[in-house]
């Protein structure tokens, strides 16, 4: 039986009197790619931001319910936030390289790690860049500014940077929204390889990307979880008409 990596129970997120997520319960399996799809305002990004507690930065939001990773309560005051951020990495929609060299961008996450002894940084850099399908393009210019890279390369650098801390869970919020089809395909290939080592949650507005890439798909609509299941089923024989209409492009 597939082992669950993350269990979410009765998760509700409110802003004043508006519910952004309504009593969501689901489990995310270890080493799967789960896509979260839904139209704008469905709550999928909020869902993602709950998982690594980035939601904490939004003071106007209140969160109820529980999220457990390997039975560790994410929202517990005893849970070290840096532990969560190390275990759960995130890649955003817009590439966020910092104005420093490619190598320094990659080393950034490790700077906050307490124990660096025993880590071969060069090896880790190469492995992360290879996993993000970027190694061959930058191996001879790691000292150059990351800002010189193309948009697709910058996004793959961000993916490589998030891999440097060896996360157990990788969150991606629309990682290919501004990328050309080749860069998109490279990111998707990278994710399929990476799922052997980690659990991946992909928020995407591109339903075709969800169908190509993920093992299971969850569909959100106006804060409700409408349907979740194996991707092959969701895109061929969805149970709920709203899911069928959304994946067929009838709304959204």
């Amino acid at each position: 039986m597939d082992k669950n990596k993350i269990r979410i129970e009765n998760l509700t997120v409110k802003a004043d009197n508006t519910e952004i997520l309504k009593n969501i319960s689901l489990s995310i399996r270890q080493n799967e790619i789960l896509s979260a799809i839904g139209p704008a305002g469905s709550g999928k990004t909020t869902f993602l931001r709950c998982l690594n507690r980035l939601i904490d930065t939004e003071e106007e939001l209140s969160v109820q319910g529980s999220i457990k990773m390997d039975d560790k309560d994410i929202f517990s005051p005893q849970t070290d936030l840096s532990f969560i951020r190390r275990k759960i990495s995130m890649v955003f929609a817009v590439p966020t390289p910092l104005p420093m060299s490619i190598r320094d961008n990659l080393r950034l996450g490790l700077r906050f790690q307490k124990r660096l002894s025993g880590i071969n940084i060069n090896e880790r850099i190469e492995k992360s860049l290879r996993a993000a399908f970027l190694w061959d393009e930058v191996k001879n210019r790691l000292h150059e500014s990351a800002m010189k890279l193309s948009g697709g390369q910058q996004q793959r650098l961000c993916l490589a940077r998030s891999l440097m801390v060896k996360p157990e869970v990788l969150l991606l919020d629309e990682p290919c929204s501004g990328l050309d089809p080749i860069s998109t395909a490279e990111i998707e290939e990278a994710l399929k390889n990476l799922k052997k080592e980690m659990t991946i949650i992909l928020v995407t507005n591109n339903v075709k990307q969800a169908s190509r890439t993920s093992d299971r798909t969850v569909f959100f609509l106006m804060g409700d979880l409408i349907e979740m299941g194996e991707t092959g089923r969701i895109f061929t024989t969805p149970k709920d008409k709203r899911t069928s209409d959304y994946v067929s492009g009838r709304f959204g």
Binding site: S211, F235, T236, S248, R250
Partner: protein, 218 residues
């Protein structure tokens, strides 16, 4: 929201129904030719085959284009795959109408008439009804109508078995008409296969509408 894509799907449905209507027409003519011993009708069947073959290619071409250009999902995807499969079944049905007409034109009509054509006409009646209902079910997305089609196949199979037994017996008893009886066995086989393709169409309609695969009773 009505999409431009819906217009394309409607056009595809019209093409499939046009092909279905031609296939029905071909069977009707082939059976009428047999009953009336009317060779002119068999030639009409041969002429209609060309149009069916063109539509066969056109429907597949449209389906491939829609898949490639729109990457359909869910109900749209099931509709297009059903259209492709129904397209194949209709082409095979038209082939059986042609085969039946060839049997009449090249063999049966050259021999003295025998009254046992009723073995074939009874089966033809059921096959035509099954085909009509399966196409109506496709047109109206009517699952109940589609479900009624496979049930009729049992009667068709029973008649086929009976025709085969009776005709073999007749060949043994009356070898002077053996050629005609062998032709009738071939014709009954055509009618039975038409019924089988109608069942396939009905099963495709059920999958198209409900997403439930009932083939082979899995």
């Amino acid at each position: 929201m009505e999409r431009h894509f819906d217009e394309d799907l409607k056009a595809l449905k019209e093409l499939v129904l046009r092909m279905g209507s031609l296939a029905e027409d071909m069977i009707q003519k082939a059976v009428k030719a047999l009953i009336e011993r009317n060779d002119a009708l068999t030639k009409e069947v041969f002429q209609l085959e060309d149009e069916v073959n063109h539509l066969h290619v056109e429907v597949d071409d449209q389906c491939l284009k829609l898949i490639a250009l729109h990457q359909p999902m869910a109900a749209d995807l099931r509709f297009i795959t059903a259209a492709m499969k129904i397209n194949s079944d209709l082409e095979r049905i038209a082939d059986h109408a042609v085969n039946a007409s060839q049997t009449c034109h090249y063999h049966l009509f050259k021999e003295t008439p025998v009254p046992q054509i009723s073995f074939v006409t009874k089966m033809a009646e059921i096959s035509q009804k099954m085909l009509k209902e399966s196409l109506d079910a496709f047109s109206k997305k009517d699952v109940n109508l589609a479900k009624s089609v496979p049930e009729q196949d049992e009667e068709e199979n029973r008649l086929k078995k009976q025709a085969l037994n009776d005709l073999i017996e007749l060949i043994q008893k009356d070898p002077s008409h053996a050629k005609q009886f062998v032709d009738l066995i071939l014709l009954s086989k055509n009618m039975e296969r038409i019924g089988d393709h109608a069942v396939n169409i009905a099963e495709d309609v059920i999958f198209m509408v409900m997403g439930k695969d009932i083939r082979h009773r899995f």
